[in-house]
Amino acid sequence: MGGNWKSATIKPEGLHSLIGKLRDEAYRVVGPTMRDDAIVYDDIAGLDDLPKGWTDDQEAGRYALARRSDDAYFGYNVGPHSWKQFLFPPVETMWHAQRDEDGAMTCSAPSRPKEKFAFVGVRACEIHAIAIQDRVFREGPFADNAYASRRQDAFIIAVNCGQAGATCFCSSMGTGPRADGGFDLALTELLEGGDHRFLVEIGSEAGAAIMEAVPHAPASSEQVEAAAAIVEETANRMGRSLETDGLKELLQGNLDHPRWNDVADRCLTCGNCTMVCPTCFCTTVEDHSDLENRTAERVRKWDSCFTLDFSYIHGGSVRTTTHSRYRQWMTHKLANWIDQFGTSGCVGCGRCITWCPTGIDLTEEAAAIRAAPSKADAQ
């Protein structure tokens, strides 16, 4: 599709009118906005809701907002939320059951309001994360219809990153910082020379159609080059890196490495890394019945491989130690995922590093194992 992209530029007011058009078309427009001293994803109505002039300082286990020296609208990296909050909600009722007077039971699907999302400011790593969840939820033999319908309707406005955060490593994972597909429109923010504009690439017919209604100008070749240079600069300034060469074999061959005990000493088994990871898809189901035993419901919730219940089978939990749980998470994400789905389960967004309360960094853990692979496992 790449060759067919038409490029245009819009001014910030153009982005405002784009958001307005999407709202007119009954999209629920979600994008970056400031709340709780962070840049979160929530409903936005226009430019005023965006974090203009703000950025985020991130490090392992640390996050803080900071002022930028310019008025960039997308001058931050990814925050505590991801789009999975919307496509794959943390808590979702699967079905209700009702028993009538003579004991007959009827099951019903919960009524879900039909919601069409438009996501503004989706980063390249996040587009890859959505593609990974697509593989899990809608491309396998048992599609999740609710996910598939939300996904089907979603309108995606990507943003190519003008900077990389200190915990970003998409360059290593081949997932960014430039969005190379999977969007309806992709923006690159241009701030040079006081002429604040967005270079717009069109990625779909829906994207092209809505652009008709938004005031835009054709992009000059200088603007196209400037945008390419920005993204290239970002690619060279990743805060983290992960050597992926032979990583699957390395991890699968080092299941008894002493480093797993070392990380277990620091890991709280709190589950935050799995909750913030945009690709983690595990859930548990809770069955509830009421006091009269007349109605019941099954509720699905995000789950984590860091809980004891997660690996509970008849007779007990299979992964009782912290090292076995951390190892499960990291080897699944970076190694076994490849066997299961054909790609890594990590897109290099850095969230698990930033939002781990003790700052455990999977790139560092992987590097430590690579630096001294254990003798016993090596063959």
Binding site: D36, C267, T269
Partner: protein, 256 residues
Amino acid sequence: MSQRPRLAVWKFASCDGCQLSLLDCEDELLTLAGAIEIANFPEASSAVADGPYDLSLVEGSITTPHDAERILEVRAQSKYLVTIGACATSGGIQALRNFADVKDFVAAVYASPEYIDTLDTSTPISGHVAVDYELHGCPINKAQLLEVISAFLAGRKPAVPAHSVCIECKQRGNVCVMVQGKPCLGPVTHAGCGAICPAYRRGCYGCFGPMETPNMAALSREWRALGAQPRDIKRALRTFNTWSEPFRRESEAHAD
């Protein structure tokens, strides 16, 4: 329903807050009274029927010789015994006495200490009799209480997760206050409250006691990195669940 199961609610050393959670179930109270015979619940009704009981909810900790006897009687009359709240489950805030000499407190508080007959310690119900299920919280979450009772009535396992508060915090969409610089007990605390305090931008106070596999030392190291002093850590752990093993031991590892 011909024979409804019989419920009793017992009070030991406690503030009554957890029993109130049951009375607070206004919308469900009538249904509850239809599904179960509320045979013994002095807080709600002075009509008290004798045991045995199918389900006993026990609030409060054991702090007197009299209560240490009484809980044996409660156990003997109860088919299932469920503790409700931090006092019954871990000894409560009153277990702070366990770290000091209770005689000093008695002398300081009461005009005539000789009338006071109390134990040296405040201990959880499980320290005295077998407990079938423990519901955490100071106070308990009333939705969880209804879940436990509904599960009992249906003969199924209650859906009450024992993982960290962090998982609820993330399910709720909160921004983590700890990563933003505020010490939080959420990573070592049992879920159940729905991460209320982080939702209001405060660190978790640990009301639901230790989660299933708390790594206390790692949490303390992180608190120190965020600027907490040893006494801050000690004080944070010396609250409603201070006598639970992980909180007690970690609090003892930090100086005043």
